[in-house]
């Protein structure tokens, strides 16, 4: 074994990361202002050039299908940025048309649409209401005149007399033949008369046969005559009703003409309205009775009812109402609608019902607008996930965009579940620009699964999460902060405070060279810092206010982290931070709970023995390991075989486990730690427990970058600090992750003081050396690792295992020898 020194850093080929390398403080010279109050507000979006260009392109193209899909992570400001651009565009556009539904006099089940210039729908609605009010006064007055009553009475009497006289004539002819015409319960009957009464049957039988026959024949003729009369009654009734209708039309026309003409002159520029008013006029003329006050039903005439008047006139007058579906201000721009609850009905509108006498009824006044109606002629913003999770909403949206019209139908009909008669409102022509906002994954999945997405949403607006950090970018970011403060009337921040905010943005970007442009967390931080500034009565926010806001934010969310750390410190969760041990390495795991991510050390152990060349991943066997984690472990086998026994079979069995881990483990960021545990066990070389490791490894032994490196380093540091920093503790991170390090100040202070260390490694050998304090060893001219080095020990152990395996194989494969005579059993 090679000699071991006291300072691992001095012998390690791993690069020691100095505190000065991690100086991430935003240089104050980049921020040439006193407070944000001095900064010009930002009139453009920071770091989203690609997205902004795409929005401008999409809004500029008026062709169908050029709708927008704004994708990116939540909180990046997608809706705000989109809305800002839409507002600018909408203000330049003319307001779209108002839309109404009116009664379809030709097909009542299919309400008709009416298009009016912006600002005219409500006026027409009011005008029609006034028209009905005036007709309700004028028409009954016209029908109350003595002339009308007399004329109507004449017509009614004419009809009544006509049928009574016709029957009476038959009766008179019967009487001439001494035959009576009688009312029977079901109609009329004829009978021979005797002494002003009906002849008794016995008297009839006593008559000569010829007389009986004559009477019967006469009655048969009379019955035929009466049948003819009764058959004529419905025709006479129709004629009489027609005459009454004509009379009603004449009387009504005198009232309606002037009122309708007045309206026509007010709307003479709108042909659709004029056509509608003509239909109204004709309908009023035909239905003047609707305007009459309800009266009790008139009594029946000799044969059935005469002229019944509708008793639901009050409710039926609503056929002249105008249902304003959507209206706009005449001096407003194009509408921008954000539908927060994009159900099928909320998108394409719905047909409501009213309970009348226990039955559900509907009519054109109960057709309600959806978001597409409201946004028609303008812009509609929708959350993609919400649209996709509401039943049939996505289909309805696509159908509307494809057909370029809005067809309102009940959801039950769309599903084909309900076949009851309902309304079929005339479709409304659609001209809208839809902006779907959603995560990238949703867009990619949808694009792969739904070919129509590409046809209907041709413009992809891809938002960046961050932007490169530079002096100019930081100043720009400062102006973004100033704009956000001003928009929310928050106190200005001094430049040190802005520097803290920028550092926090870099931390959120998880990259020292980039700044997160997520607006939601930025605004939250500004609002919370303002709260602390207000609490101390300051007019300008300071760096302390920002720090307190960040600490408070972390503090609010770190309950689980704190409890876990306490369990490590109490010894419940076994994590060693000093001493040495064979086959045991501190890995680093990251847990995401809600919006808070934190790192925590976890003990990884490995055991080796003779076997068939398989590295057993206990997490995987227990179905607690995810596929990426399993892949990382499988790579270890490849590394072992490739590096140490390229020409022979691996003859070991190894087990790897995350000790005291009871949840699912995913990701390959612990594969380096697992490999070090395995190599330590193979080499029988102890590992320094004051170190923790993160990083993934390749089959070639390269250590590769992983995510959340800041949380991992800080998680191990926190445990070490609680136990007391010894100066022999630290974390090994992939060299590629150094640029991602934006660590808390207390960590960088410890690095600076030399009480905690950080090593950047590029290869497994660098890590082995740092963890064991031994040289990893390189192959010599003969291609063998030097004895005593870690690699040499590993190679020797593997060769030994291979030889043992070969001997075992030979023993098992040897031919059967004749057996000796059996002796007594022992």
């Amino acid at each position: 074994m090679a000699p071991r020194g006291s300072d691992p850093a001095a012998r390690a080929t791993a690069r020691r990361v100095e505190a000065c390398d991690l100086e991430r403080t935003c240089p104050l010279e980049d921020l040439a202002f006193g407070t944000t109050a001095e900064l010009e507000p930002l009139d453009h979006v920071v770091g989203q050039d690609r997205a902004v260009d795409a929005i401008a392109f999409g809004l500029g193209l008026a062709h169908p299908g050029y709708n927008l899909f704004a994708m990116g992570p939540e909180g990046i400001g997608r809706r705000t940025i989109v809305r800002q651009h839409l507002q600018a565009e909408a203000a330049r556009r003319e307001p779209p048309a108002d839309w109404c539904y009116v009664f379809n006099f030709g097909a009542p089940g299919k309400p008709g649409r009416l298009r009016l210039p912006a600002g005219h729908a409500l006026k027409l609605q009011a005008d029609m209401g006034r028209l009905v009010d005036e007709l309700r006064l004028g028409i009954p007055a016209a029908f109350e005149t003595d002339e009308y009553r007399a004329r109507r009475q004449e017509l009614e009497t004419e009809f009544s007399d006509r049928q009574e006289q016709a029957i009476a004539q038959v009766g008179a002819r019967a009487r001439e033949q001494k035959i009576a015409l009688l009312h029977t319960p079901g109609g009329f009957g004829f009978a021979p008369m005797e002494d002003e009464g009906v002849m008794a049957p016995e008297r009839f039988h006593a008559l000569p046969e010829a007389e009986q026959k004559r009477i019967q024949e006469a009655i048969q003729v009379l019955q035929k005559d009466l049948e003819a009369v009764i058959e004529s009654v419905p025709k006479w009734r129709r004629e009489a009703q027609q005459k009454v209708r004509e009379l009603d039309r004449q009387v009504t026309h005198s009232v309606v003409r002037s009122l309708i003409e007045e309206l026509r002159s007010a709307y003479d520029a709108f042909p659709e309205v004029l056509a509608y008013l003509d239909q109204v006029r004709e309908d009023v003329l035909d239905h003047a009775a609707l305007f009459q006050p309800t009266k009790e039903g008139e009594g029946p005439t000799l044969i059935g009812a005469l002229f019944t008047r509708g008793d639901s006139a009050e409710s039926r007058l609503q056929r002249y109402q105008v249902n304003v579906l959507v209206h706009h201000e005449a001096d407003g721009g194009a509408p921008i609608v954000y539908e927060d609850h994009p159900t099928h009905d909320n998108l394409v509108g719905r047909i409501e019902h009213e309970s009348r006498m226990g039955a559900l009824e509907t009519d054109f006044t109960l057709v309600r607008a959806g978001a597409l109606h409201r946004a028609n002629g303008g812009f509609l913003i929708l959350d993609a996930v919400k649209v996709l999770t509401e039943p049939l909403a996505w289909d309805a949206l696509k159908r509307a965009l494809r057909s370029r019209e809005i067809r309102t139908e009940p959801l039950g009909h769309a599903l084909g579940l309900i076949s009851t008669v309902s309304l079929e409102p005339e479709p409304i022509p659609l001209d809208v620009k839809v902006v779907l906002v959603g995560p990238r994954l949703v867009y990619y999945l949808l694009h792969a699964l739904d070919p129509e997405l590409g046809e209907l949403f041709k413009v992809v607006v891809d938002f960046e999460e961050d932007l490169p950090s530079s002096a100019a970018a930081r100043l720009l970011f400062a102006r973004l902060v100033a704009s956000a403060l001003r928009a929310r009337t928050l106190r200005p921040l001094d430049r040190l405070a802005v520097a803290r905010v920028i550092e926090d943005a870099a931390r959120r970007a998880d990259d020292a060279e980039r700044l997160s442009v997520g607006m939601a967390p930025l605004v939250d931080l500004l609002v919370e810092a303002d709260h602390f500034a207000a609490a101390r009565g300051a007019t300008v926010g300071s760096a302390e206010d920002v720090d307190r806001a960040i600490e408070a934010r972390d503090r609010r969310a770190d309950r689980a982290e704190s409890r876990l750390r306490q369990e490590i410190l109490r010894g419940t969760l076994l994590v060693a931070t000093e001493g040495e041990r064979v086959g045991q390495v501190n890995g680093l795991a990251v847990t995401q709970l809600g919006g808070h991510a934190f790192g925590m050390p976890v003990r990884i152990t490995a055991t080796v023995r003779l076997g068939a060349g398989r590295v057993l991943d206990i997490e995987r066997e227990a179905q607690l390991g995810g596929p990426i984690h399993s892949k990382g472990v499988l790579i270890l086998s490849g590394f072992l075989a490739g590096r140490y026994l390229p020409n022979d079979a691996l003859s070991l069995a190894a087990s790897l486990v995350f000790e005291q881990s009871y949840g699912t483990i995913e990701g390959d960021s612990a594969s380096a730690a697992e490999l070090f545990a395995l190599l330590s066990a193979l080499a029988d070389v102890p590992v320094r427990q004051g170190f923790a490791v993160t990083g993934s490894v390749s089959q070639q032994g390269d250590v590769q970058a992983v995510g959340s490196v800041n949380e991992k380093v800080e998680g191990f540091f926190a445990v070490c600090r609680e136990r007391g920093l010894t100066g022999k503790q630290g974390v090994l991170v992939p060299e590629a992750n150094v640029k991602n390090l934006v660590l808390h100040r207390d960590v960088t202070q410890a690095l600076r003081a030399g009480t905690f260390h950080l090593y950047a490694i590029e290869t497994v050998d660098q890590g082995l050396a740092a963890l064991t304090g031994l040289s990893a060893g390189e192959r010599d001219a003969l291609g063998r690792f030097p004895a005593g080095t870690v690699n040499g020990r590993i190679e020797a152990r593997l060769a030994d295992l291979a030889q043992r395996a070969a001997r075992l194989f030979v023993a098992h494969a040897a031919p059967v020898r004749p057996q000796a005579p059996k002796g007594p059993r022992r």
Binding site: L181, H183, P185, G189, G197, I219, E227
Partner: protein, 274 residues
């Protein structure tokens, strides 16, 4: 004269207007009501004939009749009339009864009533189709039997009420009944007086008008020179149609009959005072 009961005659045609008038009058005058459904004997005679048939309304087809079918149909009508009357009198405080008799329409009513009953019937009461002959038979019957009869037309009641009273003395004697009827038909009451005026007639008229005024019914009186058919017709034509009350001698009734023939409306026939 004071009525003690309302007797409602119901025939083959069940007329809602007549039911309503009888029910409202019984309640407003607080009189008991008897519903009398008459199964006309003539209809059974017809049904018993070997060739008996009925021209159906509204199918206009002739179908065979027999006594059993006729009895069944009339029983159904009787039940229908009873239910309709019960609906009309639902919640009423006056006692009422319903019965079915067989006979001729008018004679059945006369037999079931006394001189103190107010008879109420439809103008289409009875199975005969000839209305003129029916009315003539009714008037003849009333002359002989001294009954008061309200004949109700199927047309809905219309105000104001026109009344003809002769001789003058009757106003005072029938004022309460007139008041009840006027309330039913929705007054005011117009009274046309026949014959020449006299101090005694004026005194009686004033007394009758005072009774009506106490009932809250405004009354208008005007006098015509004679009771001739032409005069009456002219006077009545000037009034809107409504209730017409006739009270007087056989001569005046005959004249009224001629005058009323072309007019629609309800007709109250009162017997001449003794």
């Amino acid at each position: 004269m004071r009525f003690r009961r309302v007797v409602l005659g119901i025939g083959t045609l069940v007329d809602e207007q007549t039911l309503r008038a009888a029910a409202e009058l019984a309640q407003s005058m607080e009189l008991a009501l008897l519903g009398l459904f008459v199964e006309e004997a003539d209809l059974f005679q017809l049904a018993a004939l070997p060739f008996a048939a009925e021209v159906s309304v509204p199918s206009a087809r002739t179908r065979r009749l027999d006594p059993a079918t006729m009895a069944l149909a009339l029983r159904a009508r009787s039940g229908e009339a009873r239910r309709a009357l019960a609906r009309r009198l639902e919640g009423a405080t006056v006692p009422w009864d319903f019965t079915t008799v067989r006979g001729s329409a008018l004679s059945a009513m006369l037999e079931a009533s006394t001189g103190s009953d107010l008879l109420v019937a439809s103008t289409r009461f009875g199975s005969g189709v000839d209305r003129g002959r029916e009315r003539e038979r009714v008037l003849q019957g009333l002359r002989e039997c001294h009954r008061s009869l309200l004949l109700v037309d199927q047309a809905p009641p219309r105000a104001p009420v026109a009344a003809v009273i002769a001789p003058d003395a009757s106003i005072a004697s029938v004022a309460p009944e007139l008041g009840a009827l006027a309330l039913h038909y929705g007054g005011p009451l117009t009274i046309i007086l026949a014959g020449s005026a006299s101090p005694e007639a004026d005194r009686l008229n004033d007394r009758g008008r005072a009774v009506l005024a106490d009932l809250g019914i405004p009354t208008r009186l005007h006098r015509v020179a004679g009771m001739g058919a032409e005069t009456l017709q002219r006077e009545l034509a000037a009034e809107p149609p409504g209730l017409i009350v006739l009270c007087g001698s056989a001569r005046s009734l005959d004249a009224a009959h001629a005058a009323l023939e072309p007019l629609a409306g309800a007709l109250l026939l009162l017997p001449a005072p003794a």
